[in-house]
Symmetry: C2
Subunit: 254 residues, 2 copies
DNA sequence: CGTTGTGTTGATATTAATCAACAAGTGTGG
DNA sequence: CCACACTTGTTGATTAATATCAACACAACG
């Protein structure tokens, strides 16, 4: 990891004035409500890092000394079982916060999917900063609340949806993500870019890579999606796919 | 629901000085760091309610007008698919906060499992109160963080664990819950009380009631647990059961 | 070019779901 | 007090969805 001292993502280039439904960030920065003077105090404790694809920067069980703010790229967050089974609990793109945990050690690992830029804060320093910036605390609470809602939605998916519904949900959710949450160049409205591997998708959806592959092939065969390349999917019948995702419709074929 | 105006759970009878690993509450109140004067201001906006078993007090999709603090009893929190499939995302006992969501409507439903006492706060009033009580905001952030960790653990369970491992995890987690989180009288250290039905357990673990029943019977047959009554389970071999729960050991039998 | 990583497709195995029957407990009303 | 319905839980037989095992295609890369 290359280390440079630089301002964190304090002023967001994608600022739109609206909350992001996915990461909950209002302006995709840790402190959108903080003025320029405070901003410099924050920057003083932040270090900006680059993380190569495949490199992990948070390891489950390690002492939780840092707090991160993703500014570019995408990370996968996951937990492992002793025998290697893996559950990816989420993908974190620009604007996401990581390592918020109260406990002394990280409860998950994080690894870059694409080249990332992240801001690292010392958690001890962050703690004192939070006392000075109530607005920041408020933002973090909003973010955490939104992530909790997303986590519950994912529990519904993992516990009760079929493989077909899981893939449909995944594609719909990806297609609805705003540009700034993706961590890579967007396609058109119905073009979904998948920077992660089939293995990552499988571990995110609680399936095997074979089932992911087969299910996508089947959706393609039914004309719901196109797969021009491994990492690109075009949604052809958004309404139908959404119906499958939400379980109102099996989509003709199981 | 009977409605009475009363103090919320501001001073907790179970105060131990330590954080609760499950609900994250330090003293199982919304404002343990708030002094007596502030306490009265909070109480002024809270209403205490009783909820009968089987009655729901939060409905997914309804306008999120209230914020709740459980003071007694247990609720199940769940999401539904249109065809009736249900995922219970958690059980909320004394000290838990509900309805923290930023969005305008509730993202889940909540129904009492046992007779409950809950404190209801108007969310609009709560919002203004939070500005006055930074300590409360901090507490809520801690709580939300802890719930996020629990949610990720549950995703691992739902996505990657076998039925056997899910039941073992559930029993171990229940056995480790401190008295004040249970919402009912505790048994001895290794006696786990299950106030919820098999159907609730199944929907929490992403299984069917038949699989829950069969798996418990099998664990009993192996001498890992005893089932003196439907709602009581005694853990006989805690270490072995924990090994199954964490996936280090299949426990001899699949 | 071979090698490696990633993805697809096919054949088979296995887990857990489904369908079904029954047992036990609870409450109701005659 | 007992028949009855109703709910909840257990157990058995069978099915179905997905995992596993295996082969192969293809692209990236040294």
């Amino acid at each position: 990891m290359s280390v440079t001292r630089a301002r964190p993502l304090l002023v967001d280039p994608h600022r739109s004035g609206n909350d992001c439904a996915h990461c909950g960030a209002r302006a995709h920065s840790v402190c959108n409500a903080i003025d320029a003077r405070d901003l410099d105090r924050l920057a003083a404790v932040a270090v900006q890092l680059s993380v190569e694809p495949g490199r992990s920067f948070i390891d489950e069980g390690d002492p939780a000394e840092s707090f991160f703010n993703v500014t570019a790229g995408t990370a996968k967050l996951f937990k492992l079982l002793p025998d290697g089974r893996r559950q990816i609990t989420g993908f974190a793109g620009p604007g996401h916060f990581l390592g918020l945990a109260v406990s002394a050690s990280y409860s998950f690992s994080a690894e870059a999917v694409e080249l990332m830029r992240i801001c690292r804060f010392s958690r001890t320093k962050l703690r004192t900063l939070l006392d000075d910036f109530p607005a920041m605390e408020k933002r973090l609470l909003e973010v955490a609340s939104n992530e909790l809602v997303a986590a519950q939605e994912q529990m519904l998916l993992l516990g009760r949806k079929t493989a077909r519904e899981r893939l449909a949900s995944f594609l719909i959710a990806r297609s609805e993500m705003p540009v700034h949450c993706l961590g890579h160049k967007p396609g058109s409205a119905e073009t979904v870019l998948l920077p992660m591997t089939r293995s990552d998708i499988a571990d995110y959806l609680g399936l095997t890579i074979e089932t992911v592959s087969r299910t996508l092939t089947k959706l393609k065969g039914e004309g719901l999606i196109e797969i021009p390349s491994t990492e690109t999917i075009i949604i052809r019948r958004h309404v139908a796919l959404d119906g499958i995702a939400t379980g109102v419709d099996s989509g003709g074929t199981r």
